[in-house]
């Protein structure tokens, strides 16, 4: 038994050098805002794009959290901004021959350089190895189809094997309509993988970012041992418009925000982006103690 623990510890050691891939492309390449300056959609403050990126894409005036793409997220979170990517060779199929689906995939690929709406892999945070998944809402609104579901399930399986914690950053409009019921079933697939992790005693930290809705919110994103969110993130099952139509009344402005859900008892904590690495590192470290005092 004891020996097992130590063996696992050894596995925790740093990743083999040759596996390291610097997946955070240079600033020039990933800079989402096209111009030199960006206007905050919330308060209107103007920031230099470079300053904004340095500030983890948080508005210096009102703290508005701009969307972060998957690679920016990885570099902001993991030690040295590095990780080893899993399964980046999986590509979506068009199982229903859905009108225009393949074209849309291709155009999102061209626009973002991403092969799908989630990037998965492993790296270390504050020295602790973790399996991480980061969704990117620029690709098909972060919707979950077969590839997203499969990549997340495989990442969780690897985490079980290696006894690593899992951290997933969600940013998704929900299930991907163009893959029909196959997308729906990815909710079950990812949740079943988490059932295995749960049974194995593994740690899962879910971080919901703007937006986390529909089939993603109603599956893995809500199943964290810790459910966290970024400030101002829209989180919910049904869309605001549908709810307003159903109940025929206007919803409060803060409805379905992270802060609203925190108040309703649906989240563990809302974490400012600048605190994210510290808080996650701390939680992971709290779980790395395998023996009692």
């Amino acid at each position: 038994m004891l020996r097992d623990i130590f063996q696992k510890k050894r596995k925790y050691a740093t990743l083999p050098k040759e596996k390291h891939v610097n997946t955070a492309p240079s600033v020039e390449k990933t800079q989402v805002p096209e111009g030199l300056m960006v206007k905050c959609p919330k308060c209107g403050a103007i920031s230099y794009s470079r300053e904004l990126t340095k500030n983890l894409k948080v508005c210096h005036q009102c703290d508005h959290h701009y969307a972060m793409n998957a690679f920016e997220r990885v570099s902001a979170l993991l030690d040295d901004g590095q990780f080893f990517e899993y399964d980046n060779d999986l590509r979506s199929d068009d199982p229903l021959s859905f009108p225009d689906y393949l074209n849309k995939l291709e155009s999102d690929h061209q626009k973002t350089g991403l092969s799908e709406a989630v990037v998965t892999g492993e790296g270390t945070i504050k020295g602790f190895p973790v399996v991480i998944g980061v969704m990117d809402s620029r690709f098909r609104m972060g919707s979950m189809g077969s590839v997203v579901g499969e990549k997340i399930a495989r990442a969780i399986e690897r985490a079980i094997e290696k006894n690593y914690p899992v951290i997933i950053f969600s940013a998704s409009g929900g299930a991907r309509m163009q893959e029909g019921v196959l997308s729906l079933m990815q909710m079950a697939k990812t949740s079943a993988a988490l059932a295995k992790l749960h049974k194995a005693g593994g740690l899962f930290i879910s971080v919901m970012t703007n937006p986390t809705t529909g089939g993603v919110s109603a599956s893995f994103a809500s199943l964290g041992d810790y459910n966290f969110a970024e400030p101002g993130a829209l989180i919910g099952f049904a869309g605001r418009r549908i709810i307003e139509q159903t109940i025929r009344q206007k919803l409060p402005d803060d409805f379905q925000t992270a802060e609203f859900l925190l108040k309703k008892g649906q989240l563990d904590k809302v974490i400012h982006r600048k605190e994210m690495r510290n808080v996650l590192g701390n939680i992971v470290s709290l779980h790395s103690v395998k023996e009692g005092i």
Binding site: D93, G180, V181, M185, A192, K196, A238
Partner: protein, 322 residues
């Protein structure tokens, strides 16, 4: 025919004509039986033609038929000794989901399902079969009980979807559905999920993580309602018919996609025309699948369910494409 659908009109007209001739024969004492037999033959052919070639949209209409057997109808006819159980022990009792314990062929089982109403009054009471979080949490509680006492679980799926309301969001609609998905994946008892009408999105799937997924012949299962898809894709919910075709939501489509295990045949014209026959077919199917599953131990059942859902999805490897 009561509750006829638009595409059934030619058949209904023919049948009323036959009825007229019958009355005529009786009243006027003129023998028209040759004519009647001919028309009956024609009606039979017409029925087979209509029901044998239903379009996806026509299936949607059948699946939503107000007289279709509901979960409680099916439990009553399939099971004995049913005791309905209520409440989630946290907030309340959601009447859009019903459940309890019963016997199926003498075997104790837990039965759970979405419950729609048959008329407006009943539908309002049942919230049109659209559950709140407490409905899913009641279902979970009953499934945990089944797991504890080693009873197979049979789930009947029939909902447009989880209720999109303010209170539902506040109480954690997403979390309630998600938790059911994860917990259903881990139960060590056989789970059979049967789509009996509409299988709408996550609200349906929350009862759908079974070792076997069966669908009645005229049921649908979809990631989004045809109306919703049409509104999103073409900004026009009137295009629902087109969306129904693109989305591949019929039992036949899902069987071809390998998502479901079996289609349960319905009587000609739909389950609502002959409950007894519909129940008879369903009983056969449940018997067969339950017998197979009862041969597996609890670990095998969990593994079987995992493998089933892990295999769902279509994707390619980059190396295979280029």
């Amino acid at each position: 025919m009561a509750g006829e659908l638009p595409f059934e009109k030619p058949l209904v007209e023919l049948q009323s004509k036959i009825e007229e001739l019958r009355k005529f024969t009786e009243e006027k004492q003129i023998d028209l039986s040759d004519e009647i037999v001919k028309l009956e033959c024609k009606a039979k052919e017409l029925a087979e033609e209509i029901y044998g070639n239903l379009t996806p949209w026509q299936r949607v209409q059948m699946a939503r038929h107000p007289e279709r057997p509901t979960t409680l109808d099916l439990i009553k006819d399939l099971c004995t000794d049913f005791v309905e159980l209520h409440g989630d022990r946290l907030f309340g009792d959601d009447s859009a989901i019903v459940g309890g314990v019963a016997r199926f062929n003498g075997i104790p089982v837990t039965v759970i399902g979405h419950q729609k109403g048959k008329d407006t009054k009943e539908n309002i009471a049942r919230n049109f079969g659209m559950p709140h979080p407490e409905g899913y949490r009641k279902a979970l509680r009953l499934m945990q009980q089944a797991d504890k006492f080693n009873r197979p679980i049979i789930c009947f799926i029939n909902t447009q979807g989880a209720y999109p309301g303010m209170a539902a969001e506040e109480r954690g609609q997403s979390e309630a559905i998600a938790r059911n998905l994860r917990e259903m994946a881990s139960f060590g008892v056989p789970i059979i999920s049967i789509v009996i009408g509409e299988g709408g999105s996550g609200g349906a799937l929350a009862l759908g993580v079974g070792n076997r997924i069966l669908m009645m012949e005229n049921s649908i299962y979809s990631v989004i309602s045809p109306e919703g898809a049409a509104a999103l894709l073409w900004k026009d919910s009137g295009q629902a018919q087109r969306a129904a075709e693109s989305l591949k939501i019929t039992a036949q489509d899902l069987n071809e996609l390998g998502i479901i295990d079996e289609i349960i045949a319905e009587p000609l014209g739909g389950a609502h025309r002959n409950y007894a026959l519909a129940v008879q077919e369903m009983r056969k199917s449940i018997e067969k699948n339950l017998t197979e599953l009862r041969n597996l131990n609890s670990d095998e059942l969990v593994e079987d369910r995992y493998d089933k859902f892990k295999a769902m999805g279509k994707y390619n490897l980059l190396s295979e494409i280029s």
